[in-house]
């Protein structure tokens, strides 16, 4: 038994026999030719054939694997039409009087050597595409049929040095249990396609190719990236149980995709997802989250050279609102300062940046910056269920002055003839203890609260969470934090306002029983956690969670609360 580690590129565990995929190297010899036209004609025929083949693969891929995977082959079609590549090949045939396959090989290698040297993932992927296309063209010129992966007749784990997108697309899914490659990472084409096809895969497993022969048995762990060569019977036996468990867990979790989020005793609440940019939406839709609990708008401002325009922001907000249809989308206004800086905006050095001119404070000091964002948000409001959330509000006066500002901007827009959805909501993030303590005052005037645990914990314990020396004071399970959150929830519910939670604590499955006991209306987390939390919530009864919370509120410290919670979780029936 021997273990080789690669990159877990696609989830799943398989135990099976290896099929070693050997690519016969095409032998390309430079030949001097006399009949140039004949050589050019050979090239044209190979271009036509390749084009037709790729078009068929593209259609099949589109049907079986969707647009993302099919886009790879659209790119291949573009390469076949690329003037620099094709004219370069033709010119070489004509100028040097060489054979077509040699010309294809030479010109593509010129591009490959440039592309492969570049430190840019997008371009390196194009290199893989060019290689794939060139191989197909040369095979047609030479009239050789490549040994495909479509002729498998029993279930196997494919072992290859590398798999081209074409190889992966031609895999007969019925017989491919998984694949292992020496080359490639998590974002290589083959890894992406493996995930789409839901076939476990390990990529980047160096030195595995020479170790194995067709028929050898392996255990492939696509989660950890481990490959166990020649496993013992004991290892196989214990892995078989893990495989079974994995399949069952996954199936169960998938069932929750279309379920309403609710507790075992049927109390509904929302499980929302946090996003950083509009592209993250696809993942959110995939897990069927009930809404967006936190859209951090900082990404729109960071990594660029000047402030984003109203149009740019509008289009980002519109995309997210439209894609979420009528589900609530909480968009947080600009939250910079503290540890988040902008290259193009000099913030004066502060002694305590976390206690300084950041988030809503900065927006109040720079109304012009804030106005652009609010205009974009209000214009986008007609495309969905917009919730505007203000970060770092400390006092009711701050909230009122921001609200006035927003109303002023709304009136301006309307007088310009721009449509605004009057149903949009305005809420605040609770992350400063003064706001939590005055929650009953705020609750009368805001539409919602969202508790930002990361900062609330930092400010409650007066401990910088980035400072290692004091990081032990980051204590989400401490009774004082639970008491604070409990107060906020009570204050909100008294005024019939909803209250959510975003931040690390929301996605912590260990915290879930307490959060359900606290009666939060919404919990927001990263998209991959949504189904796990939804599944766990369905096993917890709200009544039990409330008892757990009551007990926790009376404890002295975090350890005692954790003990209670762990006990609670082990006693949940499966």
């Amino acid at each position: 038994m021997k273990i080789i580690n690669g990159i877990g590129a696609s989830e799943g565990i398989q135990i099976g026999k290896i099929y070693k995929y050997e690519v016969t190297e095409l032998s390309i010899i430079k030949k001097d030719i006399i009949d140039i036209d004949k050589e050019l004609a050979k090239l044209e025929v190979s271009l036509d054939k390749s084009m037709n083949e790729i078009e068929v693969i593209r259609c099949n891929t589109l049907e079986n694997m969707g647009e993302d995977a099919a886009a790879i082959f659209s790119a291949h079609l573009e390469i076949l039409k690329d003037p620099e590549l094709i004219d370069g090949i033709k010119n070489l045939i004509v100028a040097d009087k060489v054979n077509a396959e040699y010309a294809v090989d030479t010109i593509t290698k010129q591009f490959l050597s440039i592309f492969e040297a570049m430190d840019n993932e997008y371009i390196r992927e194009r290199a893989a595409d060019i290689k794939d296309v060139a191989k197909r063209m040369i095979e047609h010129i030479l009239g050789v049929q490549s040994q495909g992966l479509d002729s498998l007749f029993e279930p196997v784990i494919i072992l290859a040095k590398d798999l081209t997108p074409s190889d992966t697309a031609s895999l007969n899914k019925h017989y491919v249990m998984g694949f292992i490659t020496e080359i490639g990472g998590r974002t290589s084409h083959s890894a992406i396609m493996a995930r789409t096809m839901q076939i476990p895969a390990v990529t980047g497993a160096s030195n595995v190719y020479e170790e194995l022969e067709t028929g050898d048995r392996v255990i492939l762990n696509g989660i950890t990236g481990e490959i166990i060569l020649h496993p013992t019977e004991d290892a196989i036996h214990s892995y078989k149980e893990r495989v079974q468990q994995f399949i069952e867990d996954k199936k169960k979790l998938q069932e929750f995709k279309n379920f309403k989020s609710k507790t075992r005793d049927g109390i509904s609440f929302d499980i929302a997802a946090n996003i950083g940019c509009p592209e993250d939406i696809d993942q959110v839709l995939e897990v069927g989250a009930d809404g967006i609990g936190l859209f951090r708008t900082e990404f729109l401002y960071m990594g660029r050279e000047k402030f984003p325009t109203e149009e740019e922001q509008f289009s980002a907000y519109k995309t997210v609102l439209e894609k979420m249809e009528q589900r609530p989308v909480v968009i947080r206004t600009l939250d910079i300062g503290g540890d988040k800086e902008l290259d193009y905006y000099q913030m004066p050095k502060e002694l305590n940046p976390f206690l300084g001119n950041r988030a809503i404070r900065l927006c109040l000091n720079e109304p012009e910056i804030f106005k652009v964002q609010i205009r974009a948000l209000l214009r986008a409001s007609v495309y969905g269920n917009l919730h505007i959330m203000l970060p770092m509000i400390a006092t009711i006066d701050e909230f009122r002055s921001v609200r006035n500002e927003i109303h002023k901007i709304e009136k301006e827009l309307i007088s310009e003839g721009v449509q605004v959805n009057p149903e949009y909501k305005l809420g605040i993030m609770i992350e400063i203890p003064s706001a939590a303590l005055s929650a009953s005052v705020f609750a009368k005037e805001v539409d919602f609260f969202s508790i930002g645990t990361n900062d609330l914990i930092q400010y409650t314990f007066a401990a910088d969470r980035m400072n290692e020396k004091v990081s032990y004071l980051y204590q989400p399970f401490h009774p004082s934090l639970l008491r604070l959150v409990n107060m906020v929830v009570d204050a909100a519910h008294k005024e019939k306002k909803w209250v959510g939670m975003c931040g690390e604590m929301g996605g912590d499955t260990k915290a879930l029983p307490l959060l359900l006991g606290l009666e939060l209306d919404e919990i927001s987390m990263s998209a991959p956690t949504v189904l796990k939390v939804r599944s766990l919530a369905s096993k917890i009864s709200k009544i039990d969670a409330k008892v757990l919370l009551e007990e926790s509120l009376m404890k002295e410290n975090q350890e005692q609360v954790l003990e209670l919670v762990e006990d609670f979780l082990t006693n949940i029936e499966d």
Partner: protein, 86 residues
Amino acid sequence: MVKQTVEVTNPTGLHARPAADFIKIASSLPCDVSIEKNGKEVNAKSILGLLALAIAKGDCIDIITDGEGEQDGLKKLVDFVKNIKE
């Protein structure tokens, strides 16, 4: 033939989406389009050629159009490069 020098200010240069968008515009023009960087000239209707130039932020490139509608075409492409924001 007309020609204009532009500085690429986009932080990610002329890669990925901006490159693909550039090709789309260039390909829609009736005239010939090429780009020259450090003395190397490529057909600007070719994504591979464009990527091979490895145009990064701060690079100065010459955009050259030749033939029908060369003036308008040049303006379109120059405006595009000046306004890319990734």
